[in-house]
Amino acid sequence: MKASFQALGRHVDLSGVTPEKLSEVLPMLGLEVESIHSFGLAPLPLVVVGEIQASEKHPQADRLSVCQVDVGDGTIRQIVCGAKNFKVGDRVPVALPGTIMPSGFEIKVSKLREVESQGMMCSSEELGLGKGEDGLLILTAQKPAIGTPLNKLYGKPDSVLEISVTPNRGDCLGYRGLAREAAAALGLTLKPINVKTAAGLSTSASAKDAFKFVRSENSFCPYYTARTLRNVKVGPSPDWLRRDLEAVGLRPINNVVDITNWVMLELGQPLHAFDAAKVKEGIEVRAAKAGEELTLLDGKKLSLDATSWVIADAQRPLVLAGVMGGVDSGVSATTKDIILESAWFVPGEVRRIARRAGISTDSSYRFTRDVDPAGVELASRLATDLLIELAGAEVVGPAVSTGKPPRADVKIELPAGFVATKCGTPITDADVVNALQKLGFTVEKSKEGFSVTVPSFRSDVTRPIDLVEEFIRIYGTHQIPAGRPIAPLPGDEDTRSSVFTREVASRLVGAGFSECCHYTLRDVSEIERTVGAEHAKLLALENPLTTDQSHVRASLVPGLVGALSRNVAVNADPRGFFEVGVVFRPQADGAVREFLSVAFAAPAEALVRSWKVPASFDIIKAKRFLQDIAQLAGVAVPRLSFTDAKSALWQSEHAANLSDRGRSAEGACGVVELRWTRSMGLKGSIIAGEVMFPRSSFADVQRIPRFEAFSSFPPVTRDVAVIVPVATSASEVLTRVQQAASKAAGKEFDLEYVNCFDVFNGPGLPEGSKSLAFEIRWRHNDRTLTDEETNRALSAVIAALEKGAGWVIRK
């Protein structure tokens, strides 16, 4: 909130305090000062009132005029001026040579297009008075004497502090509350508020009131007051009142509205004034009815329903309660009698209503932060004083109230030693009592420690722990020493996924990939490319800010392709990129699962030219990376299988899907769809891979490997080449060979490994077939295998492949 330093001075004597000092004190109380700016005319002793006595066109510039100006010192000065809004005889502010303008610019005698100018006539903006009308600030209407220093026409400049008030401190949304804080911190005394209008409420309207009833029989508004003021003369507010409003950015409207706003700034209690002539019979706080409509002061038309609360008369809603008044019942130039409302509404409800209507006002902002019920009547009385004084109002009687204040002062039992225990350092009782008393709390000794009475304006302080915070704010956090951060005994472990995140990054960096970090929120086209249009719908946000950030990401690959593209565009010579992060994938049942994903992407052919023939990055390498990454995550590599990828993200027939029988990993690798990568300015193929792990795959405690003894005897190796149809997958043949070779070894010895070392589909083979050659390695645990048993095993393998699978063995 914006706070005028001068206005604050009405509540606490700040004569020995500068605005700068205050802006150092308030933050340490929890009231952050975001900025300070000056309001009003800064001291400018060389700016005086001058009268334009003559004006003619500048001989060399159409837009300039040459004026003769009398500034009251006996000499007529020639001043060149660019403004158009004056006539001869006008009185205007003149900055004489030597003036340092608020912008820092110094006025000197100078020549403007060959014509001498002995000063400057000023606009409102140039004087630091804010944006006024275009051109010079014309003072003619005020009839100031020629030569009068401009500062004499304006009051002392003020400082306005922009204070960020946290949501728990509704009491600081008025000068009274801010002054309380400043007084507590600076050791000053709060000045009393003098109100002439008598206290005291009536429970029912009198015949002289402008209404017959006030009703509020509901949980939303437990306490409502209304007061009738007659024969109000609506007109402009006096200068001091306008100044106070303008200093904090409020626009003066008329004396009645201005007074309600001024009291709100003063005490933090929003008020509302109705034109009594527009109120039919009485005032009622009630839920809106379906179908009711209300046009607000700002012109916004609301269709209401039973979830909104309104202030209504006998016929229709007049005000969106706590938020904004209606245009029909507001105070206008013709208003004669007014009804002044001061009330307390349930904070959460006001927030709900305001958000639903999409409106936040000074009033709703304060009501949602819990105004002081004890201030409801005081605000009404203070406003009444001013309405009498400034608008000639006549008061009919006491305010009529319904209900009662929902909160009163709170008594908190503060156990002895509680504050010291929480602070972790010795604190004396006297320190505690002193700090709390400074805040206006009443502290009494009790059996268990202290009994602290917290006034109703501090609704946020209800528990002993809240008193600790209050104590610290006043005592000062600098008095809390740093404790020794002793670590506990071992026993806890980092989550496995966090360990994996770290390890996989260093693995990929070692392989030449650089790490990226991309936004989670992506546009719809990218998500559709990755998971298809149907699934993309399941990843949409409810309230995206922009269309290019409307969905949560389903893959890290598009981000990496984007990074390659951008780096190519700026000649940064990208090699490979990777990212580790969370992606979201719809599951078969429509629910969305989070995966920790690892993805990499690199051009198949290096982009940097070289005298050497470079090794290209291909799908086989990408597959290897995926397997290694999966293994690092604790997934058993033999469980992984690869099939053709079918997704618009990948180039068909040149990419593979990865799946895991244990469902603890899935992914894909291969050539990223070429038309897309080309459209992004990437010339050759981009090879990418991604493997995703559900959170559950990191849930198990990692097994500690147990040592297994191995044979010290040499192995035997035999080769077998199988001719199969082209369409048969390598993994199918490999699995068959493995099964046969394992079976051939039986229980006697072990199959150690089967390796596909040759793939051939050239001449010499039947049409439509290919040959895959495998190396089989067996080993015995206790001795060297003989040729005879090895050959027998090989024969068994061949027989199994020929008879079992129906394949031809190349001899």
């Binding site: 932060r369 929480k422 610290i472 800010l545 559900p694």
Partner: protein
């Protein structure tokens, strides 16, 4: 005889010079020491000699044989050298470089994250995690921020539609799902799942409905800290944060705790940092994290007795810290992934 043997050795020596490959070497070897070789012939001649001559000639022949063997050994070395040389090809120019892929770069956010996590590890904090899509209950209600609490206005939240179901964050009731606005939700998951005492740090991605500019990002990263035990105090908080700041910003960095407000801590503070080594931001207080003692209400909501347990919590912005440490002026650099940026922090 002596002369004849000397001649034989000299001839072999001379002939060996012209041998250039392994085949020639084998032929040469046969001419000298093969069954019909010259040295073999000389040795056969021994049989015709008298008893007296034999030891003398024998000695001469042995010497000649030794010389021939040396010639052959030298020849073998020469041939092998030639073979290795031709197998290896052109000699190396040690100044030449190729197009080999150098090691990549860890992202500066990851590097800073690991450094910070390590710092807290020294203090006994271990890493915890939670889902990025959270229930409103975990993200707000359980953190003492019920619906229509004005603290909900402190940040603008991205919501998922009502139809959205998350495997990792099942709804407890009818509440909405959100992209978590802070890692403080991991506090709740930890409080519900673990038995105190514990100290955890939770790194993770967070989201706000903010327009992207030099200091705002639609997603950003936080590291949350939570320590629950009997009698955790403000002095503990100060000790932990002091240690963190000195580890991260150097021994001459200082902190101050400025009272503030968060619904889930009481008392609450903003921690400000001041350091002489921050370039343009040197020697002035800079806000870098929120912290405080865990509000008893949060402990209660998670089923812990606040009279028995207390705790401290803090949450820092990873981007902010990384920007301060390296003097980075625009948060968007982290998400553009320009190599000219990334390689500066390797």
């Amino acid at each position: 005889m002596q002369q004849q043997l000397a001649q034989l050795v000299a001839t072999a020596q001379a002939e060996s010079k012209s041998v250039t490959n392994r085949a020639e070497m084998e032929a040469f070897k046969a001419r000298v020491v093969g069954p019909n070789g010259s040295l073999t012939a000389a040795m056969k001649g021994m049989a015709t000699l008298s008893k007296e001559e034999r030891p003398i000639v024998g000695k001469l022949i042995n010497e000649a044989k030794k010389s021939v063997e040396e010639i052959l050994a030298a020849l073998l070395t020469k041939i092998e050298d030639a073979e290795i040389g031709s197998a290896l090809g052109t000699p190396l120019d040690p100044t030449l470089t190729g197009n080999e892929t150098p090691a990549g770069f860890i992202h500066p956010l990851s590097r800073t994250r690991e450094k910070i996590l390590n710092t807290f590890k020294k203090l006994g904090f271990t890493i915890a995690e939670g889902p990025e899509i959270e229930t409103e209950w975990h993200c707000f209600d359980a953190l003492n921020t019920p619906a229509d609490h004005p603290a909900r206005d402190m940040q603008d939240t991205l919501y998922l539609p009502k139809s959205f179901r998350s495997v990792d964050a099942p709804r407890r009731g009818e509440e909405a799902l959100v992209l978590r606005t802070h890692t403080s939700s991991v506090q709740i998951r930890t409080l519900l799942n673990r038995k105190p005492p514990f100290r955890i740090v939770a790194p993770g991605r967070c989201f706000r409905r903010d327009a992207v500019d030099a200091t705002h990002s639609a997603n950003f990263h936080q590291i949350e800290g939570l320590w629950i035990d009997h009698q955790v105090t403000l002095a503990d908080l100060r000790g932990i944060l002091d240690f963190f700041v000195k580890e991260t910003f150097g021994a001459d960095a200082e902190i101050r705790l400025r009272p503030s407000y968060f619904p889930f801590t009481e008392p609450s503070f903003e921690m400000d940092l001041r350091s002489p080594n921050l370039g343009r931001l040197s020697n002035r207080w800079i806000e870098i994290m929120g912290c405080g003692l865990v509000d008893p209400k949060v402990l209660e909501l998670c089923g812990l007795n606040p009279n028995e347990y207390s705790g401290l919590a803090f949450g820092l912005g990873l981007e902010r810290i990384t920007m301060l440490v390296h003097g980075i002026d625009d948060i968007r650099h982290f998400y553009n992934n320009d190599l000219r940026f990334l390689r500066q922090f390797a």
